[in-house]
């Protein structure tokens, strides 16, 4: 388990955090979802922001993948991401921080499919 999640972390750093990332816009959402799923083995299950929040984030990303995302989806992603700062331990807190970086670096990628005009 540990090695697998290490790989995910590595992938994550290379593909998502790296400003010069070659990650295409289409790739972003599935990759982020992959990253979240990769974190499952770390989640201890004690607190809702992380245990339930991460799963909900994945479902929200699915809405992007399925093309049903709206501006509400994005707002909800933001909300649950910020809420990870209420997590009980560093697993949730770290996932939250990584998600915040995504919002910071790639907000436009998430905004584009849901904008109205």
């Amino acid at each position: 388990m540990a090695t697998e999640s290490l790989n995910v972390k590595e992938l994550y750093e290379k593909w998502i955090l790296d400003a010069k990332t070659k990650l295409t816009e289409e790739d972003l959402v599935p990759r982020v979802k992959e990253y979240l799923i990769g974190q499952h083995p770390e989640i201890c299950g004690k607190c809702a922001p992380c245990r339930d929040g991460v799963i909900k984030l994945e479902q929200l990303l699915d809405q992007y993948i399925e093309g049903t995302a709206t501006i509400k989806t994005l707002k909800e992603i933001e909300r649950l991401t910020y809420n990870l700062r209420a997590s009980r331990c560093s697993v949730g807190l770290d996932i939250g921080k990584n998600m915040e970086v995504i919002l910071e670096n790639d907000y436009h990628v998430l905004y584009k499919p849901v904008k109205k005009y």
């Binding site: 499952h40 809702a48 922001p49 909900k56």
Partner: protein, 566 residues
């Protein structure tokens, strides 16, 4: 001392104080959900989070200690947003049927959703994490409503010491709080004390429902009798929001019972007085026989079951007596209304374990239960409230002209009554025992309390114990095992602070447990204050009758009860 600032107010608090307690000192109440003082301080629910300046993450107030210089915001935008999001997440995994929920009106989770004005956006109300229903004779669990706060687990372990409920995180994304998977409460070593039910902030854990059965019994052609324990009287006053010392409400309540179809409403006074004398007699015999080890009281069905499950080496020590409501059930059915076959006896109790007790094979007479159903204070209150009677203007019922309608004549202190009986029997003067606490502390549920007294009957001295709370019971058995001191008698209640704090009592979640207990004890004291304590002649005559011809209705037996250990 640490100097901190909370919501703009600067204050000094002792080092080691949690943010939650510090805020309380200046009248700021931070909402909590999983927190139970001294019992569950584990920071699971994340509702109590606050913002601390220069900290990058939100911190939980219930288990974070203050540090000098902390600047804390308990109600900032970030805090409010986070609480809402967390509640949203919990609600998205919760099945709502508030109108028919056992916790209707007392649900902390509901109150919190309301207080935070939760609106379902992307994720509506849920269907529950799992649809599993776990049954039990005294308590049950509906897992569609569990918010995984772990309060029940802590109470069952730390207060009750039965370790039935566990937080099961084999699959951490879908944890479950339950007894051994696949088993009922009966099969998992539960004593049905119901302390977990009281601790549960949702309707997940609840007393096994006897309301519907009773509704049917009332509809059929039955002669239905209600017997009400004194502790339940006090809880009922709380349930109906009248002054906790208002005895006049009791008669109004009885009238409501009559209106829903009860033919007779009686107290448990005769039963209690009978029980006390019979126990005194048993203790007298026990002392005469110079038996080893103490006689242990058996009126608390939680304690009896605990002993049968976990301390079966001591079953010979248990008093053979049936508990008061069982005694009275058989009196009502097999003496007062002998020959009628449609008599049903319903006990109204502050106790959930009595629901189990009435089903015990050992207590059946002619293969039938002597008490048909046990309703908790909450259940009967709910039944009455449903009818929408105008209780304020209701005429009180006329008291029946029957000894069973009267409160007990002996005092509220069982141990004292029993000892007085023995002194009387031995023809020696009785001195009130002076108790010394030898374990724990009164009102501290995680410890329970053991009080010891030395009592002189003529030239002979005996040591007696008064034990209350699961931890204290465990400690008592340890004392007996160590055998350093010989004890003659122990009066035991498994609930900390006794039946007044039983698992079937009214739930008062906005009031500190300490204050609730003190107010109830005071109300009980008042109830007995102006009553002369005498011996109950009626009960004593009954006792003679029991001893000579109805011994099988008086006594019972015990056996090892099996359960699956994890």
């Amino acid at each position: 001392m640490a100097s901190i600032t909370i919501d703009g107010k600067t204050l000094k608090v002792k080092n080691g104080t949690t943010i939650l307690k510090a805020a309380e000192q200046i009248g700021i109440e931070i909402p909590t959900l999983c927190f139970l003082e001294e019992i569950n301080e584990i920071g699971f629910c994340r509702i109590c989070i606050v913002e601390v300046e220069d900290e990058q993450d939100l911190v939980s107030a219930c288990n974070t200690e203050v540090a000098s210089g902390m600047v804390i915001h308990t109600n900032s935008e970030k805090v409010k947003e986070s609480r809402k999001a967390t509640l949203d997440l919990l609600a998205s995994k919760h099945r709502f049927d508030c109108w028919r929920c056992p916790k209707d009106g007392m649900c902390e989770f509901y109150d919190m959703l309301k207080e935070h004005d939760i609106v379902f956006e992307e994720f509506g109300p849920g269907i529950g994490r799992t649809d599993e229903q776990i049954v039990g004779t005294g308590i049950s669990q509906d897992l569609t409503k569990c918010i995984l706060c772990k309060r029940c687990v802590a109470v069952c372990q730390e207060v009750v010491t039965a370790n039935v409920l566990k937080f099961r995180d084999e699959d951490p994304l879908n944890p479950v709080v339950s007894p051994t998977p696949g088993l009922t409460f009966d099969e998992s070593g539960c004593i049905f004390c119901g302390q977990c039910v009281k601790a549960c902030p949702t309707g997940t854990l609840f007393e096994t429902n006897h309301v519907e059965d009773l509704e049917n019994v009332l509809l059929e052609d039955n002669y239905v009798i209600a017997q009400i324990a004194e502790e339940a009287r006090i809880g009922l006053r709380e349930e109906f929001g009248v002054d906790i010392q208002d005895e006049s409400f009791d008669d109004v309540f009885d009238q409501a019972l009559k209106m829903i179809g009860f033919e007779e409403v009686v107290a448990t006074g005769v039963a209690e007085d009978l029980h006390v004398s019979a126990l005194g007699e048993e203790l007298y015999q026990h002392l005469q026989a110079k038996n080893d080890g103490p006689l242990l009281s058996s009126w608390c069905s939680g304690f009896v079951r605990y002993s049968e499950l976990y301390y079966s080496d001591y079953l010979d020590q248990l008093s053979k007596l049936r508990s008061p409501h069982i005694l009275q059930g058989s009196l009502l059915k097999h003496r007062e209304h002998k020959g009628k076959d449609n008599v049903k006896v319903i006990s109204i109790m502050p106790c959930t374990s009595k629901k189990y007790e009435i089903t015990r094979e050992e207590l059946k007479v002619n293969d039938e239960q002597v008490v048909d159903y046990v309703l908790t204070v909450r259940e009967i209150a709910k039944m009455i409230k449903r009818r929408g009677f105008d209780m304020e203007n209701m005429k009180p019922s006329v008291k029946q002209d029957s000894p069973y309608a009267l409160a007990r004549k002996t005092s509220y202190d069982l141990l004292e009554n029993v000892l007085a009986y023995v002194a009387n029997k031995m023809n020696v003067p009785f001195e009130k025992p002076k108790y010394k606490v030898i374990h724990g502390e009164r009102l501290v549920e995680t410890e329970g309390v053991i009080e010891e007294a030395t009592i002189k009957f003529g030239k002979e001295k005996f040591h007696v114990l008064r034990v209350s709370g699961g931890q204290a019971v465990k400690q008592m058995y340890q004392l007996l095992k160590d055998g350093k001191k010989k004890y003659a008698f122990a009066d035991v209640s498994h609930c900390a602070n006794g039946c007044m704090n039983g698992g079937g009592q009214a739930i008062r979640h906005n009031v500190e447990v300490h204050d609730v207990i003190l107010a109830r004890d005071e109300a009980m004291r008042r109830m007995h204050e102006n009553k002369e304590t005498t011996t109950n002649e009626y009960a004593n005559n009954l006792l003679d009758e029991f001893f000579t011809e109805k011994r099988e209705l008086l006594e019972t037996s015990y056996s090892v009860k099996e359960f699956t250990k994890e």
